[in-house]
Symmetry: C2
Subunit: 407 residues, 2 copies
Amino acid sequence: MQRSPLALPFPALLPIAGVRIGTASVPYKAWTRDCVTLVEFAPGTAVAGVTTRSLCPSPEVELCRAKLPGGHARGLIVNAGNSNAFTGAAGMAAARAQAARVAERLDCSADAVFSASTGVIGVPLPIDLAVEGVDKAHARLGEADFLAATNAIGTTDTFPKAATASAIVGGKRVSINGIVKGSGMIAPDMATMLGFIFTDAAIAPALWQAMLNDAVASTFNAITVDSDTSTSDTVLAFATGAAGNTALATMDDAGAEALAAALTDICRHLAILVVRDGEGAHKLIEVTVTGAVDDASAKRVALSIANSPLVKTAIAGGDANWGRIVMAVGKAGEPADRDRLSIRFGNTLVAAQGAVVPGYDEAPVAAHLAGDEVSIAADLGMGTGRARVWTCDLTHGYISINADYRS
Amino acid sequence: MQRSPLALPFPALLPIAGVRIGTASVPYKAWTRDCVTLVEFAPGTAVAGVTTRSLCPSPEVELCRAKLPGGHARGLIVNAGNSNAFTGAAGMAAARAQAARVAERLDCSADAVFSASTGVIGVPLPIDLAVEGVDKAHARLGEADFLAATNAIGTTDTFPKAATASAIVGGKRVSINGIVKGSGMIAPDMATMLGFIFTDAAIAPALWQAMLNDAVASTFNAITVDSDTSTSDTVLAFATGAAGNTALATMDDAGAEALAAALTDICRHLAILVVRDGEGAHKLIEVTVTGAVDDASAKRVALSIANSPLVKTAIAGGDANWGRIVMAVGKAGEPADRDRLSIRFGNTLVAAQGAVVPGYDEAPVAAHLAGDEVSIAADLGMGTGRARVWTCDLTHGYISINADYRS
């Protein structure tokens, strides 16, 4: 698979005390690269998570949902090459068996072991390979090699994706790393996004979960490649506490805002990296909607624009087709008034008050659209609601990746 | 534009007493073909209509919405080559001026003149050409030539689309014709669907509107090419009463059910013809959802499947990718249970009870998918709700039509 033209280099990540990683290879597919990732967390590690909204989730997602209320994690196991989704009782048995083996190896409760799988669907995860993968990865547990882990959780990602940040919390410097895979496809099945975030900050699980929920809403839940939702999407965030700060319990504690801001930055960076690896993407598109009746309405309008095939193909063609933006605003079903609507491409106002601006000059817009980062802004003129989402263009590459093979 | 591989021949239409048609050419674009269509209806003609749900509609749509409650029509004027959408006050002035000229020529109230326009957006309909078009078309008014009208309302349609039916109402034989344009694109702008239905039946406007609402829900509102909604979509239905039946007033009147059934048949046929002319379409896809908690839920799930780019590309590739159907059911947000879900392609059960069926043989599915009419069925196992929608595959042709040019 050709590296995305929008790829960014892998960043220099910070060490995170309390996190050990081992990766290993087992033949889920005819791959020689590592495809099983085991992460061991120090006792006391808090965990927060957000899973797909799909009502047909994988067993791993169901297990995450069941375990997250416990708030603590000692282990994470990730399989690439088999998503274990839509595999009935056999798949659930395999997921449970693998988590049990991790618990045995790490000497902890299976309730503290979190699982995620990505890859082919409809084929139960082979229990023997899944258990063998745990043993092999456990034998290689050591200082956290985040690049190795990022490569091992990937499927058809065209580049490894990570982000890092730090913050001062209660007088201590804390570090946060995030890694993510998606949204390449593992032929012939679904794109799945898996994101994992690691910090050495000490924080109560409930507050960590609240911070993650907030961060995800404006980041991972504000990206779209093709409007399709995987059965396996999962973001898990682990806080080991090894930085030694007094554990954060409320947003009023010193440093809580800083940690939340760093977490949101990480999530935004990771989310945009996923779009940058969107199938067939040649342009990153930022859609900003302002002037909606409220933020939720703004987000629905922004997603209507970002998911519109006609908008996405226009951007692919470098076409300043503001009529398609009007169309997408109109179809969103949110309060809008054609005669108050204004539209910008880049810094150029194209349409306002229900019509193209007088003396509209397309040249600066065409120059903006020729770049690989495009911004579209729509102001609805109705209120103060605003939202920002990211997507990519819709190209022949998307069709080729998704249609031009037989399973 | 190459004729769609899914095109059907133009049918032999019935004459409709009380309808006269004239078409004419004016230079909205550099076309020599006719692009203005004037229809004159006998006094007493009832009208019903359904317009786009877009909140940013064209002036023509706004005028239709305002006039429909009157229930009667004497004239219809259709422009192709300029949609007059998003043109502010200038566009509204042009639409009003054109309708006024029709009213003058037909010696009727402007409230009885209905308008529709399709084509480039953001450019106000030129008033002088619009009025000239009325005069020219009026000079050519004569026996209804539905093929000429179908060609004149088209934009980049690759074949003319029509349907016909008849019914016995109150002992009289009545005829219904329907013509439709869409969903080719008029570069560089939006696809617009315009449908016009003509019958010589006599019927009260309120009942005619109720019949049309019912018919549209399961036909025009059950098709999707790319999930995008035009600012100008309009279906208008005219009943001249010239057949001489006692005017239908309620569904209990003799023949009302027959007329409603014929109307629904016409609408379904026209709607599927639009999908057959979908941009880049090589396969017509029928999606049936059963076992939902209710019909509305079934329709949302069916549209989630039909709008999924991953499903549509899989069908384009002839790929029996049932995992993408699971994904689309899961993302619909409707009550569903992975372990009760079953999926068929054609007549072959592929997955049931949360997993692929034992001994699944892909050969008959691959044979079905190799044809140009594909059926997908999902049973949710939750209740008795059902729905059927139609779409087409997503191909390189769609990208080429919508991205590979500059405006």
